[in-house]
Each structure stands twice: as structure tokens, then as C-alpha cells.
């Protein structure tokens, strides 16, 4: 790593001081003069016709400005976009005529304070005529099931089947076959800050200003479109700190509603979800999926092929969520050499809260199903789980490695990472500890998973799953400016939700310009001033924003060298750039300093080379390193350029009387190429593991038979605390990506992509002596207790 001056070095995050001193600025801290507040009336039914809404009592209350219902709102705005090919599906912030899930917004109340708005919302009377509902994906696909959107004619909004390679032949020839179902329950990242948005319409400039807790590609464009405004009439302020997102803070319907209200009423309006609004009506629940897995393999453990049927319950409406069936295509054989794969993906509507993008965009559930398959194959063959993986992992010398679905994995050394993790946890000692624990009557297990994190991709899963939706461009940008005083500023074009982008941009610019990153300021343009960005999704910012910042900084550097060459009357190749000064090679005294060069650029046009713009700023806009080709006829496509790898090992003991698991040692071997800031990468990975612990053991948006959300608070939707998350250790390995500016890969989804699989593996290892197993997440205490008891009976 010594080739870098700042990259990869211990460096405090630029953002941290403002957060530890309580000086962050979140959307709930945005207080506009005269601002009014919104509370919502939510559907009490999973499916019903709205017979009547009576808002008279609410409107008569002092301090209440307006009660807006779906009838007015849907007439005055356009539907949000549904990404898949289902043109009859419409989606508005407020329901019109019918409600399709419990918690769906029926009316919005605007009042002087949030408390008054809530009081008034309770006085809005809605008459419902309940209709049949369906909350199970398999039932929803059966003939005669209640249709969530009758106009669409079916509850299936996406069904694609892909066959890559000679799958049937492989199944016919393989020595053995297994089939089972793995299930991943509905959970989400559930940030501690709920979603919020404030908006202000200026009738003079005809601009809608928006402050939001947001992580959404194309957000200003979609808001403007739904509000029937030109794109340049919506100005999103990206300098709002976002209190966590990890995928879910999409907030389009919230913003269209608040924007509509602000414009209609001529006053600033703010809506901050309370926790219940967030959990049931915030449309942020994650994948809800089962996998029918079939695998073909030989007696020596060689994997020949697998068939994956994934059925996902997307809830009552769809935006980008169904595309979460698409990302896994880009790593459909995991880190393994599997020459033929079948993938059958279905997205189904039900009367549940709509699903939204969650960290990993469908990859973590798929990794869980694939790793469960590996463990089942190992158990069937009575083969060591690690040996089975070692046998099938792609070998170092095989990179770049193209998988059957068309993606080429850029680089990796999976065996080395796995070996490092095994050494770090002292695997033989861990096995002895487990076996000792078992001898003393405990249920103890070791979990393992080896998984991929595709990163930095374009969004071509959109066109892959909907040929009418030709999205292949997914750029990001940066502007670097050096002012007259010689200070360096990087301008980024999106908001952040904890990923440390200011640290990223300043470190990269500092690296290229050889200037101390702590002196590099990073600011955010608003959306009317911004260069193109697609927001921090898909583990892309180290690659894409880091690459854009590097590209812009390199232009500055080239300009400085060009100015020096012109003034020193030599060729640029004769010069060397050092710390901002430019000197003639071998003649250190013959140079122009940073300050002199900056002064020439800003003030001395007579000393500027021809064809170089005065001032000192540069922009860099780029598409993902592997470009944006359309899928071929077989659905083969390269979407993500970079593939990070993680190997998890975890120890668990289970209390047989309660089914309660206690996690012990946890090691994650991780290779995301060159780390720009190791503390930030490690932090996100630790957080991803904790999130994975939640998905594996605790978190579930349960619904009652009536279609009511039964986990609308933190009393029922259980987030892991410091007591459930054990001490975690990460072992780094670095295989640089050949495709990126410094060899970096993405890491924003790290940890989460392998933790649920590893924990499931550990629980199953603990249950194995009882002859019991579990294939569904979360493995709640009750589920484990039931498995123990069923196992004992068996």
C-alpha cells in the first residue's frame, strides 16, 4: 500500500466532528419560517373500498389548514413510475377509491404543529367496505386469488426465466441432485432516523425547494415529473445529513405529497414520519422471498449446475423493488465455478406494505440460499463444509472469470481470504471448543459463508427484466475547484447517509494533487447546480464518486503541469509534479510553486498557455468502468464491474430450553481491493454484519391473517443491540481491481451479504446432532425451539 500517500492510511473521517458535537443537520432540523406540519390518516384495512371520507370535524379545528384526500391528490399529480412492465399499475401517495394495504395513506392533514395535525387526523372519518385480501405470494399466484390491481389482470408483475449453459445436461449427468426451499422473511434496514421531507414553493421563481432524508437515484426528476413540473422547477438540497438509509430512503411518494401540499397552500410544509408511519406506510420493507433450489453435483463435491426459482412478495405497489431480483443475476453462481445455471424470477403483488430497495439489492437473500445449498450438499456427501467450498471456489489464476450469466468477475483470491479468516479465528481451536461444548450437553455450532458483493454497477437489470426500460447509463461526477487562495474544494452531487463521502472525496483529491486531505473541503451542489449523479446505491461510491474525484483532480494536475510547461518553456513530459509544485526533472530549483501556478491560473492570463481555460476547476463525469451494453439474446450482460469477496466464520451456542442463540467469536475475511479509508470500510462491514444478525435471528415484518402489520414498533420488530452483536473481527485482504482508479472495489453492503448465511450455517451446525435443520430466516428463538423439539421427537 506504500504507493499511496493518503489512500489506505489511518485518517479521521471528515464528517465525524460535526456529528459528535450535535451539529449535524438532518431534515427534522430544517425549520423554515411559517412552516406547517403533516400527519396522515392511514388505512385500517389490508384491502377495502373507500366509501366516504368526512373531514369536516378535522377542518373545523383551530390550526388546521387542510385535509387532502386521494381524490384531489391523484387528479393533481401523476403516478410514480413502476419499473417493470406493468403499465396499468399506478401508485400515488394517497389512496383513491381503494386501499391495498393496512397503513396505506388515505388523507393528509396539514396544521400549525405536528401535534395539532395528529389531533385532527384522528377526527377524519373514513368509511371502508372491506374487500378480500391476499398476503401470501403463492396464494396470490393461484387462480381466483383477489387481485391487488385488477387492471393489471394478475398479481404477477414480473416473471422471467433464464437458462445459461447446458443445465439439463448437467443435471442428467451429475452423480447427485438435491432440492429444497430456502426462505427469507421480510425485513429491512430500518434506519434510526425515519424518512422526512420539507418543501417550500416560491411562486415568484416557480421553484420547489426540497430538503429530504434521501438516497434515491433520479429523485429530483421523478418528483418533478409526478408534480407535473419541469425538471428545473425542483431544487433538492443535498446538504441534508441522512440519518441512515442502507438502501431504503427512497421517499418519492412522501416528497410528491409534501411538494403538492407546499405548492397548494403556499407555505413551507414538513413531514417527518413517526415510527409507526415509517414501519407500515413508509414503503421501506425489504425482500420477502423464497427460493426453490435444485443443485446437481458429483460425489467428490464438484458442483455441476443449479436451478434457482425465486419468488418475491413485493407488496401492494412496485417501484424499483422488483429489480432486486435482477442484481443476483450478476453473481448467480456466487464465488463458485458453476458452468450452467437456471434462474426463474417472479415478483408478486400482495396486500402488504410495498417493498423498497434494501442493502445488497436482493443479493443477501440469494447468497443465503446459495450458501444453504452448499451446506446441504456438504451434509449429504458427509464432506467438510470448508473443503466443499475450497473445491468449488474460483481460483486466483482464473480471473478475470466470466460466469454463465455473462458477468466477468474482475479479480479475487478467494482461497487466500478464506484461509486468512480460518487462521484469524483459530479454526482448529474453534472446532475443539464446539466439540467440548457438545460433550457437555450444549448445542453448539460453527457457521461459514463465502459470498460476493457486486459493486459499482450500472442499472442494466432494469432492461434485463423489462426490455422496454432501456437503462444502461449510471454515471457519477465530481467537480474540483482550486480558488485564488489555493484552497481545494470538491463538489459532490448527492446526499450521504453515513458512508463518509466527504472523507472519500477529500482523500482521493488529496492523493492525486498531493495536498493534505484535511485541507480539502467537500461540499454538495443542489440538484439544479449538480453534475449527474445516481446517488450512493449498489456499493458504488468508492468506485464511481472516488473515480470521478480522481478524474477531476487529474485534470487539475494536468492543467498545473501545462501552465508550468508554458512558463518554463519545456514539454510537460520534462516536468515532475510534487506536492503541488512543478519542477523540471533533475533540476529541483527550476520550478513553479503551487501558489505561483494558482495565481497564474486565476490572475495572469498573459502567462497562460493557449487553449487552457483561466480559473482552475475541472469536472469529470463518467459511466461505470465496464460501460453500459444491453443484454444479449440469452440475457447475458455485464452490470457490475467489481466483485468484493467475504468469508464469514461464526460460533454459536443455543440454549436448548429457550431456543435462544448466543453468538460467540465472529471473524469476517474481506477483500474489497484497495481501501480508501480503512476505518470507514471496517465500520460499514461491522454494521453490515450486525444488520445480517438481525435478518438472520430477529427481524421480521410479520403480518396477521387479517393483513395487519404485527411488527410496527421496536417492541415487536427487534433490532440487534450491543448485547446481541458479539465482538467482531475483520481480516483484510487486498486484490486490487484492475478496472478502477486506485484498485478499489465497493464495500457499502459488505458484511450484510454474508452474515445471514453464516449465522444460518452456525445454527444448523448446532442443530445437526439432533437431526434438525432450518431453512427459513429469521431463525427466531421460537423457530429454533420448535426445531429442537421436532428433532428430539424425530
Amino acid at each position: 500500500m506504500s504507493e499511496f500517500r493518503y489512500i489506505g492510511k489511518k485518517r479521521r473521517a471528515k464528517e465525524d466532528p460535526r456529528f459528535v458535537s450535535g451539529r449535524g443537520r438532518y431534515v427534522a432540523d430544517v425549520a423554515l419560517p411559517g412552516m406547517k406540519h403533516v400527519a396522515l390518516v392511514a388505512s385500517a384495512h389490508a384491502s377495502a373500498r373507500i366509501a366516504a371520507i368526512d373531514a369536516k370535524a378535522a377542518l373545523a379545528m383551530p390550526g388546521v389548514l387542510a385535509v387532502v384526500t386521494g381524490e384531489e391528490f391523484c387528479a393533481g399529480t401523476d403516478s410514480l413510475v413502476t419499473g417493470v412492465d406493468a403499465p396499468k399499475l399506478t401508485r400515488f401517495a394517497l389512496a383513491r377509491d381503494v386501499v391495498r394495504y393496512a397503513g396505506e395513506w388515505v388523507a393528509a392533514v396539514v396544521a400549525d404543529t405536528r401535534a395539532l395535525a395528529e389531533d385532527a387526523a384522528e377526527r377524519v372519518e373514513v368509511d371502508y367496505e372491506p374487500l378480500p385480501h391476499v398476503i401470501d405470494a403463492e396464494r396470490a399466484m393461484q387462480p381466483g386469488a383477489p387481485l391487488v390491481h385488477p387492471a393489471h389482470g394478475s398479481n404477477v408483475i414480473l416473471h422471467r426465466k433464464f437458462v445459461w449453459g447446458p443445465v439439463e445436461e448437467a443435471f442428467a449427468k451429475a452423480g447427485h441432485r438435491l432440492a429444497f426451499r430456502a426462505s427469507w422473511s421480510r425485513s429491512a434496514t430500518v434506519p434510526i432516523e425515519t424518512f422526512g421531507v420539507a418543501a417550500q414553493w416560491n411562486a415568484g421563481t416557480e421553484i420547489l425547494d426540497v430538503w429530504a432524508s434521501i438516497q434515491m437515484p433520479k429523485y429530483p426528476d421523478q418528483v418533478a415529473k409526478a408534480l407535473r413540473l419541469p425538471g428545473n422547477a425542483v431544487r433538492v438540497h443535498y446538504d441534508v445529513d441522512v440519518g441512515g438509509s442502507y438502501g431504503v430512503k427512497r421517499g418519492l411518494k412522501h416528497t410528491v405529497l409534501v411538494g403538492y401540499l407546499a405548492r397548494k397552500l403556499g407555505v413551507p410544509v414538513r413531514f417527518i414520519e413517526d415510527r409507526l408511519e415509517n414501519m407500515r406506510g413508509g414503503d421501506m420493507q425489504g425482500p420477502d422471498r423464497f427460493f426453490d433450489m435444485q443443485v446437481a453435483f458429483d460425489a467428490d463435491g464438484t458442483l455441476r449446475s443449479w436451478k434457482i426459482r425465486a419468488v418475491d412478495d413485493v407488496g401492494a405497489y412496485a417501484g424499483r423493488a422488483p429489480f432486486q431480483l435482477g442484481k443476483p443475476i450478476t453473481a448467480i453462481c456466487g464465488p463458485y465455478r458453476i458452468p450452467a445455471v437456471e434462474y426463474d424470477a417472479t415478483s408478486v403483488l400482495t396486500n402488504k406494505t410495498p417493498q423498497e430497495a434494501v442493502r445488497g439489492f436482493g443479493q443477501s437473500p440469494t447468497n443465503f440460499a446459495m450458501e444453504r445449498t452448499l451446506d446441504r450438499v456438504a451434509a449429504y456427501l458427509k464432506m467438510d463444509r470448508i473443503e466443499l467450498r475450497r473445491k468449488n471456489l474460483i481460483r486466483k489464476e482464473q480471473f478475470p472469470y466470466t460466469i454463465p450469466s455473462g458477468s466477468t468477475y474482475d479479480s479475487g483470491d478467494y482461497h487466500a481470504v478464506l484461509d486468512k479468516a480460518l487462521a484469524a479465528i483459530d479454526y482448529p481451536a474453534l472446532v475443539r471448543a464446539r466439540d467440548e461444548a457438545r460433550k457437555s450437553g450444549k448445542l453448539a455450532g460453527i457457521g461459514i459463508s463465502t459470498c460476493l458483493e457486486p459493486s459499482g454497477g450500472n442499472s442494466a437489470f432494469e432492461v434485463l427484466l423489462n426490455p422496454k426500460n432501456e437503462t444502461t447509463t449510471w454515471m457519477d461526477s465530481c467537480l474540483v475547484r482550486v480558488d485564488l487562495a489555493g484552497s481545494v474544494t470538491g463538489v459532490m452531487n448527492t446526499s450521504s447517509s453515513g458512508q463518509g463521502h466527504e472523507s472519500l472525496v477529500s482523500t482521493v483529491i488529496g492523493e492525486v494533487l498531493e495536498r493534505d486531505p484535511s485541507t480539502v473541503r467537500v461540499v454538495r451542489a443542489d440538484s439544479l447546480q449538480a453534475l449527474p449523479s445516481n446517488s450512493p446505491v449498489g456499493s458504488r461510491m468508492a468506485i464511481m464518486l472516488g473515480g470521478a474525484a480522481a478524474g477531476a483532480a487529474r485534470k487539475i494536475r494536468e492543467t498545473l503541469v501545462a501552465i508550468a510547461a508554458h512558463n518554463l518553456e519545456c514539454a510537460p513530459a520534462d516536468l515532475e509534479y510534487r506536492g503541488g509544485d512543478v519542477a523540471l526533472k533533475g533540476v529541483p530549483g527550476r520550478k513553479l510553486t503551487w501558489d505561483q501556478l494558482v495565481e497564474i491560473a486565476h490572475r495572469k492570463f498573459h502567462r497562460m498557455p493557449p487553449d487552457v481555460d483561466p480559473g482552475l476547476q475541472a469536472t469529470f463525469v463518467w459511466e461505470v468502468p465496464t460501460g453500459g451494453a444491453l443484454p444479449d439474446a440469452q440475457g447475458r450482460v455485464q452490470i457490475y464491474p467489481c466483485y468484493s469477496f467475504e468469508a464469514h466464520l461464526v460460533y454459536v451456542e443455543i440454549d436448548p430450553d429457550t431456543g435462544k442463540p448466543r453468538l460467540g467469536k465472529y471473524v469476517c475475511g474481506h477483500d474489497c481491493g484497495v481501501m480508501i479509508n480503512p476505518d470507514i470500510v471496517h465500520g460499514m462491514t461491522f454494521g453490515g454484519i450486525a444488520h445480517g444478525i438481525g435478518a438472520a435471528l430477529y427481524e421480521k415484518f410479520s403480518y396477521t391473517e387479517d393483513g395487519q402489520l404485527a411488527a410496527g414498533t421496536f417492541m415487536d420488530y427487534l433490532l440487534p443491540s450491543a448485547m446481541e452483536v458479539p465482538p467482531l473481527a475483520i481480516v483484510d485482504h487486498c486484490t486490487p481491481s484492475p478496472l478502477t482508479s486506485f484498485g478499489q472495489k465497493g464495500s457499502g453492503e459488505a458484511g450484510y451479504l454474508g452474515a445471514p448465511a453464516a449465522i444460518a450455517s452456525a445454527v444448523n451446525d448446532a442443530l445437526a446432532p439432533l437431526g434438525a435443520s432450518l431453512d427459513a430466516l429469521p431463525m427466531s428463538h421460537l423457530a429454533i425451539w420448535n426445531a429442537i423439539h421436532n428433532g428430539k421427537r424425530a
Binding site: 479521521r12 459528535v20 458535537s21 434510526i192 432516523e193 461491522f686 433490532l719
Partner: protein
């Protein structure tokens, strides 16, 4: 319907604040909306997540579960009151920066309050005691690892 107001006098970060508040005004809304001390955050409003933690007479409490009138006559410390009078970060705050014990920063003020209350009572806690002390504060970013490291570091630096 105008609400009846009640006089309160609360010492916040060493400054006495007098106000007339409705009985139902939560302490966190008072701190954030009336005093504009927006460092204290609202996460769940039902006492689980701990984002709204403040110290009441030195003990960490949930300011979302407390009414302002209940704080009458008491001393409240918020995250804004943790830094030294000259504005420099406290040892604990600086330790959070050193270990990167935060990401989005939303739970951070509550974490700092919980951890500071622990260190005030027990300057050299074990890891188990640290985890116990922050066990009522949820963080979705960090997995707690670098937060625990920050509190350990602060304890070391306090020696």
C-alpha cells in the same frame, strides 16, 4: 382548542431556561423545537432506540418518554453540553472521532450520553459493562464495534 400552559424552569447545559409549556409537550420536543437544541434526535418515540437520550441530573433518560413539566427543577445535559466550555470536544467525543465510532451520526448523541453517564459513574469499565451501558441505544450503522472501542479509548485516556 388552546392548550393550558404550565410554567417550567429547567437547567439545560448549565443555563436556566424558563418557559410556559403544554402538559403534553415531551422533553425532546421542548429541547429541539423550543430551545433549538437539535443535537438530540428522535428515533422511535416509544423509548426503545435511545436516540433521544439526555442526562437528567446525571442519569441517562429517554427524553421522548418524559414530559417537559416533569423536568421542572431538574438539570438536563444534552450532547451540546458535552464539549468543553471553549467548544473543544470532550475526551469521549474525540475518542468517537478517533475510532470512527459512528457513521450517519443519528444515534451518536444518545450513544455519547449513555457512554458519558457510564464513564462518570465508572471511569474504567469492562467491555461487558460498556456493552451493557449502551445496550439501550440502537445503532444501525456500526455494529457497535467501533463505539465500544471509542468508549474503551476514552477510559484509557482518562487514566
Amino acid at each position: 382548542m388552546s392548550e393550558k400552559l404550565h410554567p417550567v424552569s429547567v437547567e439545560v447545559n448549565g443555563v436556566r431556561r424558563e418557559a410556559q409549556v403544554p402538559a403534553r409537550l415531551s422533553l425532546v420536543d421542548f429541547l429541539r423545537d423550543e430551545l433549538r437544541l437539535t443535537g438530540t434526535h428522535v428515533g422511535c418515540e416509544h423509548g426503545i432506540c435511545g436516540a433521544c437520550s439526555v442526562m437528567l441530573d446525571g442519569e441517562p433518560v429517554r427524553s421522548c418518554l418524559m414530559y417537559t413539566v416533569q423536568a421542572d427543577g431538574h438539570k438536563v445535559t444534552t450532547v451540546e453540553g458535552l464539549a468543553k466550555p471553549d467548544g473543544t470536544l470532550s475526551i469521549l467525543q474525540d475518542s468517537f472521532c478517533e475510532t470512527h465510532g459512528l457513521q450517519c451520526g443519528y444515534c451518536t448523541p444518545g450513544m455519547l450520553i449513555a457512554a458519558q453517564a457510564l464513564l462518570d459513574a465508572n471511569p474504567h469499565p469492562s467491555e461487558e459493562q460498556i456493552r451493557d451501558a449502551i445496550g439501550g441505544n440502537l445503532c444501525r450503522c456500526t455494529g457497535y464495534q467501533q463505539i465500544v472501542e471509542a468508549v474503551k479509548l476514552a477510559a484509557e485516556r482518562t487514566k
